[in-house]
Symmetry: C2
Subunit: 170 residues, 2 copies
């Protein structure tokens, strides 16, 4: 929690895992308002997978220690093109989740459909629509790189979901 005047903002990190590129995006949330903090992409060299998993873990650990998010969000993956790509993606996702929980940051999960619906309004949005809407929603001068945009979208989805129980009581 970050003190902002009399109200408190919650810092959320969204992460988009991949065995070649892992995107991350951090926002501060206060009520229904989301403020951009930072985002980036961890680009992984074509080395052995254990080395790449270590790079994901260490780089995310550094980001988490620097920005101290209170909560983390990772896209839930149900499907993959093949069992082979699922194994690679799964391992990257495992490294991402462990980087968060080992730093004491709880991980929430949402499906790609839920994230797209929260940001673009439809579960069938493409990458460009997400980049565009993230730029608009977070008032950015330019669209973020696509993996960073997906990570920010996951964080925004979680920010909206945190409000939902209150709305449902009306």
């Amino acid at each position: 929690m970050t003190q902002t005047g009399t109200r408190t903002a919650t810092r959320i990190i969204g992460i988009d895992p991949g065995s070649q590129k892992t995107g991350f995006g951090i926002i501060d949330v206060e009520g229904s308002r989301c403020r951009y903090v930072t985002s980036g992409v961890i680009r992984l060299p074509a080395t052995a997978l254990p080395t790449r998993l270590e790079m994901i873990f260490r780089n995310l650990q550094t980001v988490i220690r620097e920005y101290s998010p209170a909560e983390a969000v990772v896209e839930e993956v149900f499907m993959a093109k093949s069992a082979g790509s699922a194994l690679k993606l799964g391992q990257a996702r495992g490294a991402v989740v462990v980087a968060c929980v080992s730093e004491g940051v709880a991980v929430s999960e949402y499906s790609a459909r839920q994230i797209k619906k929260a940001v673009v309004g439809t579960g069938a949005a493409d990458k460009h629509q997400i980049q565009h809407m993230i730029r608009v929603l977070l008032n950015l001068p330019a669209a973020p790189q696509e993996d960073a945009a997906d990570a920010l979208a996951a964080a925004v989805c979680h920010a909206h979901a945190r409000l939902r129980p209150v709305v449902a009581q009306l």
Copy 2:
């Protein structure tokens, strides 16, 4: 490296990742001789996957800190029954690899076929044959639990492979 008289033994941890049970087995290797140190199974409750990944990571970290293996071996997985099971297995494997590399232990990978061939003599061995041969090779009073036996088999495979470059030069 552990001093044993005038020669040095190398301690190897083998790990068999799984999202329900993760086996581990530690041996000391001196030349072609393998000595059993310990083995066990991390049984995971039916909770959310991030919690299970955290348990794999923290339990393995504890084992690694207690026994200080110099090298780690994890079975390489190419195939899975489905993309869904590959994703779960992949995430468990990611948590395992990160637990090793974050403690400074390098990870080697062998296929299931290589491990079976090293321990049983054929790449098509079943779980019971592996448990039996691990009991014989490591001179144990009883066969280890099957996931622990698979983990010990991975460690034994690596112990043999470390000798092979010398044999190949003859």
